[in-house]
Symmetry: C2
Subunit: 234 residues, 2 copies
């Protein structure tokens, strides 16, 4: 699938501190990319994930990590960036119907745009993002057609597009994997999932609630993968 | 060109405080849109434009203005967001060759993404931006092919795209106008250009340098339009 890059080839990896993006970082490294991680302090209620993102970067020895502050509470509209309650204990049917209140308007569009800007400065043409269209939460900006449209945009938005010096690729190595497959892949690459964090609504000690959609998908994934879940639950 | 919307139809207008975006705001209002203005505090050295943006919003009686802080100095790469010097006194040939150092990587992609997120929260499907492909500074993200790609993206990135509740349109009413035509249009709509600000490198009193690309394009535009330039120069 992926061609082996030269060792000096740079990639920008979107890193939330969650299970998926930690796996993506390991995949990008294993493919020989020099990794630059970008994380976002966007007013998320699970801001704890930024600390885990830092630890994941350390463990993976990324060349550089930046945390971009971008306050998406400026326009609200999501349970993750406002006082709206995070839904708990929804069953599989509920999770697969409609777009949940945890959807943050245009979040991946904003994040990919910022990753693109940094990539341009770094001279990187490869951007990795851990979107997933199988065990996901129904977010429109996790779908393959969204990623394809962003890749087209990237190749028209930038200096390189005009000067013909390179072509951007948006890599989504998890897009067609189940959560269990993602976990197995990460384990095979040595990812320490004890450093990662998925919960939308952790307590003050950073322990996961075990009941939000994200915790439920994580629990189910570890169970199906037959791997012990190192997460600390409340 | 534009169909007349119902009076309650909302639009998000990207507003920098410059001549172009003030004209776009007047155009959107004249077409019957209820206008919501979005401005960005992105670490630009000409931060003075945010004060002018506020005044433009007041004069145009927008329903709401938000200023989103997004520090693009996090990755630098532009004379507008770093210590690199702003070029002065370039002639027309120099200005029309290549992409200048004032280009901010992925700026319009980032700004449009944030406008899209806010539009989604407001239930607005119309986004106005003052990009221009005639008297412009050679920025890749001011070209019609960039705007078309962003419109496609918007219609895949959002809840409305999945639920089929509406179609986003990116309006670029200035894209094929010369600076002189933009000014004449604005004057006919009552825009007070004395409130606007174009300079990339103003002094502490907010007076324009008169020599950067942006000042030169503005001066030339007023001269060609046969309109007195109300700008305060150093």
């Amino acid at each position: 699938m992926e061609t082996m890059p030269t060792p000096s080839r740079r990639a920008v990896v979107l890193l939330s501190g969650g299970l998926d993006s930690a796996t993506v970082l390991a995949i990008a490294s294993s493919e020989g990319y020099e990794c630059f991680a970008i994380s976002f302090d966007y007013g998320q209620r699970h801001r704890f994930e930024l600390e885990t993102a830092r630890q994941v970067c350390q463990a993976a020895r990324v060349t550089r990590q930046i945390v971009v502050p971008i306050d998406l509470r400026a326009f609200g509209g999501s349970a993750l960036t406002s006082d709206l309650a995070v839904p708990k204990d929804r069953d599989a049917d509920e999770m697969s119907t409609g777009i949940p209140i945890t959807y943050v308007p245009a979040r991946n569009t904003v994040f990919l745009s910022l990753a693109l800007g940094w990539a341009e400065v770094l001279g990187a043409f490869d951007i990795f993002i851990g979107v997933n269209a199988v065990d996901y939460s129904g977010y429109p900006d996790c779908r393959p057609e969204f990623i394809a449209a962003f890749e087209t945009l990237a190749n028209r938005a930038t200096k390189a597009a005009v000067e013909g010096t390179g072509t951007f690729r948006i890599h989504t190595p998890l897009i067609h994997l189940t959560k269990a497959e993602i976990i197995r892949r990460g384990v095979s690459l040595g990812v320490d999932y004890g450093l990662t964090h998925s919960c939308y609504d952790p307590d003050e000690q950073g322990r996961s609630c075990g009941h939000c959609d994200s915790c439920q998908l994580r629990l189910k994934g570890f169970a199906e993968a037959g791997v012990a879940d190192p997460t600390r639950y409340q």
